[in-house]
């Protein structure tokens, strides 16, 4: 890594001003897992790491804490994946998130990796992560994955970049209808649906999210569970640990009188953003759960898929994962 300074400021305002003034040179650091990885690979050489961990007072408490209000939950951006997985008082209705947080990465990484950093980590595409490859995402003029080795790349919503969004917490949070709270760096905060945090490569192939330099993700907010809410998360990896998923499926639904309602289906690691599968939701809404119906929903979820030559396996894989998550959430089969 090139030389840099560590800057620890006590307030959000100073922290974001510091970064906004030196965009590109100065970067926010939360747990630092993704950031140090990028710096070690020579992708970036910031002159200052501006720490979120030093923010004190009430702002610091809000960033590091989790709290309940009117049945909904607010998780500070600095809460770690390990803490989310181990929390005993989160409602069972949010199970998809807790399972995803507990299965991501490794125990040591989960103790450092923050929720905010997890959502804002950069893609794992191996061309992107290679210092010498200047692809579209790095300002070059082509996507090497499209014609190259794209076994881990997107089957849905892709082009002109074929990345998959790397965050394991993103698809469960989308299924759980979460919002994110963003500090604009000056005076105000805005709360937007988590879907609006992410942007497709058609908007800007160089970015995955919609924050401007100096804007800080403060928290993730989970709405109060709907009546009889269940949720589930299923993932497949090449190895059981130490690996980003090949594909993920997250579902949220309400089970009343033997019927599913308020169904949300979100897929992970198959698209450049966490992918909401409305086609599947429409098939499931208001119906009695059954294995046949789940097959139909799974096929609908991938109906818009356009796999490349080397990643078509993700279509049946996604079918299986979504069926697994639906079986689990509805209790049709035990997990």
């Amino acid at each position: 890594m090139e030389r840099f300074s560590i800057v620890r400021l006590a307030t959000l305002k100073e922290t974001s001003a510091r970064v906004a003034e030196g965009a590109g040179e100065r970067v926010i650091r939360a747990g630092g897992i993704d950031l140090l990885d990028r710096m070690k690979e020579g992708l970036e050489a910031p002159t200052e790491l501006v720490e979120l961990q030093s923010i004190g007072g009430e702002e610091g408490t809000a960033l590091r804490g989790a709290s309940e209000k009117d049945g909904g939950w607010r998780l500070g951006a600095l809460v770690t994946l390990g803490q989310i997985a181990a929390m005993t008082d989160l409602p069972k209705a949010y199970r998809a998130l807790q399972v995803a947080a507990g299965e991501a990465a490794t125990p040591g990484i989960r103790n450092a990796a923050t929720l905010g950093g997890n959502l804002l980590q950069r893609p794992r595409c191996w061309y992107f992560r290679h210092q010498d490859m200047v692809c579209l995402k790095k300002g070059g003029d082509m996507c090497y994955a499209q014609t190259g080795d794209h076994r881990y790349h997107a089957i849905l919503g892709a082009g002109p970049s074929w990345i998959v969004h790397p965050s394991s917490t993103a698809s469960p949070l989308l299924a759980l209808d979460a919002s994110v709270e963003i500090w604009d760096g000056k005076a105000s905060t805005r709360t937007v649906p988590i879907a609006d945090l992410f942007a497709l490569p058609t908007v800007d192939p160089e970015r995955e999210h919609t924050l401007s330099p100096g804007e800080i993700l403060l928290s993730v907010q989970l709405p109060a569970p709907v009546a009889d809410q269940r949720s589930a998360y299923a993932t497949a990896k090449e190895k059981q640990s130490q690996d980003w998923p090949l594909a993920e499926a997250s579902v949220r639904l309400s089970m009343r009188g033997g019927k599913m309602s308020q169904v949300r289906v979100a897929l992970g690691h198959v698209a450049p953003i966490p992918w909401r599968a409305k086609e599947a939701e429409a098939i499931l809404e208001g119906k009695t759960p059954s294995a046949d119906l789940f097959v139909e929903a799974a096929k609908a979820a991938t109906s818009p898929a356009k796999p490349l030559a080397g990643n078509a396996y993700k279509v049946p894989l996604t079918h299986g994962l979504l069926r697994q998550a639906l079986h689990e959430a509805t209790g049709l089969a035990e997990a």
Binding site: S5, R8, R64, S67, Q83, M87, Q98, Q242
Partner: protein, 214 residues
């Protein structure tokens, strides 16, 4: 990039009692910004959560290493692993992948497993760091280390210090509780062993858990 790792990593949800799940209150108190409690100490040097600027030139960082005070003068870009190995001559934690994906560099920071290669030395100002060197006391191996020897839980030995630290962390966290094979596998889910010693490690840890702990 897609680093390998053969062990199951399903964790806490179904066995909250065992892993002592944390309540929200615990998350908050565990992470209090200590900047106002450090009266006579120097922010930055003694407290990583206090405001201040460090670097880019080398600066002092003080922390507790295996129960004793330690100080290193290092640049901000120095990882905890390099500070331990190069500056403090504590070479138990190993450098292998340097990317957080193998676990050879595992240390405990305030009792929690961390990858020292992905931690900056200045991050641990004022904190407690435990490496494999801190497991034995008074020249006597810990019960866990003895169990590793008895169960032939190492071959080339390169992953062993990281394995021991991960397992010592598990035993400390779960003192007095009954462990299962799954719990041990979950604890070493971030440690790769190219020699494939996993079954012997699991047996050693279960044995040590029954006898005396870390």
């Amino acid at each position: 990039m897609y680093a390998c790792g053969p062990m199951s990593d399903r964790t806490t949800l179904t066995r909250r009692g065992l892993f002592r799940g944390v309540s929200t209150a615990a998350i908050l108190t565990g992470c209090v910004n200590k900047s106002n409690e450090t009266g006579t100490q120097t922010p930055g040097v003694d407290d990583a959560s206090a405001p201040g600027e460090i670097g880019p030139d080398a600066a002092s960082v003080r922390f507790t290493l295996n129960g004793k005070p330690a100080e290193a003068k290092v640049e901000p870009r120095t990882t905890l692993l390099d500070a331990l190995r190069i500056d403090l001559h504590t070479t138990g934690a190993k450098l292998v992948c340097d990317r957080g994906s193998c676990g050879a560099c595992t240390v405990l920071v305030d009792g929690m497993q961390r990858n020292a290669c992905m931690t900056l030395a200045h991050d641990v100002a004022g904190r407690e760091v435990t490496t494999v060197e801190g497991l034995a006391s008074g020249g006597e191996l810990s019960a866990l280390q003895k169990a590793f020897v008895e169960h032939d839980a190492l071959q080339c030995g390169f992953c062993t210090s990281g394995m021991l630290v991960s397992c010592a962390g598990l035993l400390r966290r779960t003192k007095g509780q009954t462990l299962t094979e799954r719990d041990v596998k979950a604890a070493i889910a971030g440690n790769i062993c190219r020699c494939g010693t996993y079954p012997h490690i699991v047996a050693a840890v279960l044995d040590a858990a029954e006898s005396k702990g870390a």
